[in-house]
C-alpha cells in the first residue's frame, strides 16, 4: 500500500498546533503505518516536495516568506488544511494589523530592546503590511479552528481525510478552543 504523503507547515504561529499534533502520542505510531511525513519542522527536508497529498498548515501569513511558501504549498498540495486559529483567522499575529509595520519594528527592536538596537535586514524575512488568514491568500480545503485544536481534533481530521471523508468539525472545536 502506498502511504498518503503529509506535510506539516509552520507559518506565523506559536508552534502550539504542532505541539498538539505531537500530543496525539501513541496514536502517531498507528498513523505512521498509513502516512508518510514528507515535509515538516519535525523532519529534515528543506524543499517542499513536488507533490503532497495533505498539508496541515499552522500559522497566519505575516511575512514575505510565509507568502511565497503558502503559494508554493498550494500549487503542490492536494488537500490544504488550515490548522488552528492563526491559520483560519490570523488570530494573535493579526493584533499588530492596526499599527504600521515601522511602528511594530520600532517597538520590537528599539523601544523594548535593552541592547543591539537595529532592525534585522538579512536572513529574517520582511513583514507584510497586514497579517492575513491563509484563505485570503490561497484556497483552503479544510478549516480547523482552535488555539490550538486538541490532539483529538487533529487525529479526527487526519483519520477522516484518510478515510476519504470531509471532517465535520463544529461539534469538536471552536475559535479559541
Amino acid at each position: 500500500m502506498t502511504k498518503v504523503s503529509v506535510a506539516t507547515v509552520w507559518l506565523d504561529g506559536c508552534s502550539g498546533c504542532h505541539m498538539s499534533l505531537i500530543d496525539m502520542d501513541e496514536r502517531l505510531i498507528d498513523l505512521a503505518d498509513q502516512i508518510d511525513v514528507v515535509y515538516s519542522p519535525l523532519v529534515d527536508r528543506k524543499e517542499y516536495p513536488d507533490w503532497v497529498d495533505v498539508a496541515l498548515v499552522e500559522g497566519a501569513v505575516s511575512s514575505t516568506e510565509d507568502f511565497e511558501k503558502i503559494k508554493k504549498i498550494r500549487a503542490h498540495t492536494g488537500i490544504l488544511v488550515a490548522l488552528g486559529d492563526c491559520a483560519v483567522a490570523a488570530n494573535v499575529p493579526a493584533m499588530r494589523n492596526p499599527f504600521k509595520v515601522e511602528d511594530v519594528m520600532a517597538r520590537g527592536y528599539f523601544e523594548t530592546a535593552a541592547i543591539q538596537h537595529q532592525v534585522p535586514c538579512e536572513v529574517v524575512p520582511g513583514l507584510l503590511p497586514v497579517v492575513r488568514p491563509i484563505h485570503e491568500v490561497v484556497k483552503v480545503d479544510v478549516f480547523v479552528q482552535g488555539c490550538p485544536p486538541s490532539a483529538d481534533t487533529i487525529h479526527y481530521v487526519i483519520t477522516e481525510l484518510l478515510a476519504g471523508r470531509a471532517p465535520v468539525l463544529y461539534d469538536r472545536t471552536r475559535p479559541g478552543a
Binding site: 488550515a82 486559529d85 483560519v88 483567522a89 490570523a90 488570530n91 494573535v92 493579526a94 493584533m95 494589523n97 492596526p98 497586514v130 488568514p133 484563505h135 485570503e136 483552503v140 478549516f143 479552528q145 488555539c147 468539525l169 463544529y170 461539534d171 471552536r174 475559535p175 479559541g176
Partner: protein, 239 residues
C-alpha cells in the same frame, strides 16, 4: 358580547401549537423546545430586535421576521430552520466577528461567550469576510470594570439594563453604522461617570467579553444573569 379569542393557533416547523396573543414567536418556540438563536434578546429587558439572528420564515410573508420582536398571529406557519435561515445566521455571526476585533484565544470570555458559543452551534468554520480591524478604544477608568469595545457586538443589552432596571442610564450609543460605539454619559470616561452606580448589571448581561470585571485572565470572566428575570418580575408585580 362575543370577545375575540386571545389564544392563537399556529404552526411551528409543521407542529400545531397554541399561544397567547401577547406572546412572541420566540416565546412560543422556547416553550416548545424549538431552538432559535438570539443575541440581543434577554429575558427581563425590552425587546430591541437589533441583532437579527432570530429571523424566521412565515409562510406567505415576503420578509423574514425577527422572532423576538414579532407577536403570534392566528394561522401563522413558521419555519425556524431552513437552509436560507441557516445561511443568513452564519453570515450574521461572521459579520459580527469581522467588524470587531475578536481574538478568542486571548479573550477573558473565552469559553463563556454567547457569540463564540453561537458561532460553534451554527457551524461557523471560518469567517469569509475580511476583518475590518477597526480602531476601538478600551476604557479602563472604572475601579472595578473594563469596557473593551473591540469585543462589543452592539446588542445594547447594557444600555437597556442600565436604563430599565438600574434606572441610571449611564450607557448610550455614539456614532452610526460601523462607527457606532457604546459610551458612558456624554462620551466621557466611565470612571468619571456621575450616573454609574457600579452595580455591575451591564457587565453581567453583556453576552461577550466587552464589559468585564477588572483583573480577569483569559477565560476567567463568567457572567451571572439569573438576577435579571427576578428583578424585572418584581417590577411587574409592583405595577
Amino acid at each position: 358580547m362575543a370577545t375575540r379569542s386571545r389564544i392563537k393557533t399556529l404552526k411551528i416547523n409543521g407542529r400545531d401549537v397554541s399561544a397567547h396573543e401577547d406572546e412572541t414567536i420566540l416565546d412560543v418556540a422556547m416553550e416548545h423546545g424549538v431552538f432559535i438563536p438570539t443575541l440581543c434578546q434577554i429575558e427581563g429587558l425590552t425587546i430591541s430586535g437589533a441583532c437579527r439572528l432570530c429571523l424566521v420564515e412565515v409562510a406567505g410573508w415576503r420578509r423574514l421576521v425577527p422572532a423576538c420582536a414579532t407577536h403570534v398571529e392566528e394561522g401563522m406557519e413558521i419555519n425556524t430552520d431552513t437552509e436560507r435561515l441557516r445561511n443568513y445566521r452564519r453570515m450574521i455571526i461572521e459579520l459580527l466577528f469581522s467588524e470587531g476585533n475578536h481574538v478568542c484565544a486571548v479573550c477573558v470570555s473565552n469559553g463563556n461567550c454567547e457569540l463564540q458559543a453561537l458561532a460553534q452551534r451554527l457551524g461557523m468554520d471560518h469567517v469569509r469576510f475580511t476583518n475590518l480591524q477597526p480602531v476601538r478604544l478600551v476604557d479602563m477608568t472604572h475601579d472595578r470594570f473594563v469596557l473593551d469595545r473591540n469585543r462589543c457586538i452592539l446588542c445594547l443589552r447594557c444600555v437597556r439594563v442600565c436604563d430599565e432596571i438600574e434606572g441610571a442610564h449611564t450607557w448610550d450609543v455614539k456614532g452610526r453604522g460601523s462607527e457606532a460605539r457604546v459610551v458612558s454619559d456624554l462620551a466621557t470616561p466611565w470612571g468619571d461617570s456621575a450616573t454609574c452606580t457600579s452595580c455591575g448589571k451591564c457587565v453581567n448581561v453583556c453576552p461577550v467579553g466587552a464589559l468585564v470585571k477588572k483583573g480577569r485572565a483569559i477565560g476567567e470572566m463568567v457572567k451571572r444573569q439569573d438576577f435579571l428575570p427576578y428583578l424585572s418580575n418584581m417590577r411587574e408585580v409592583k405595577k
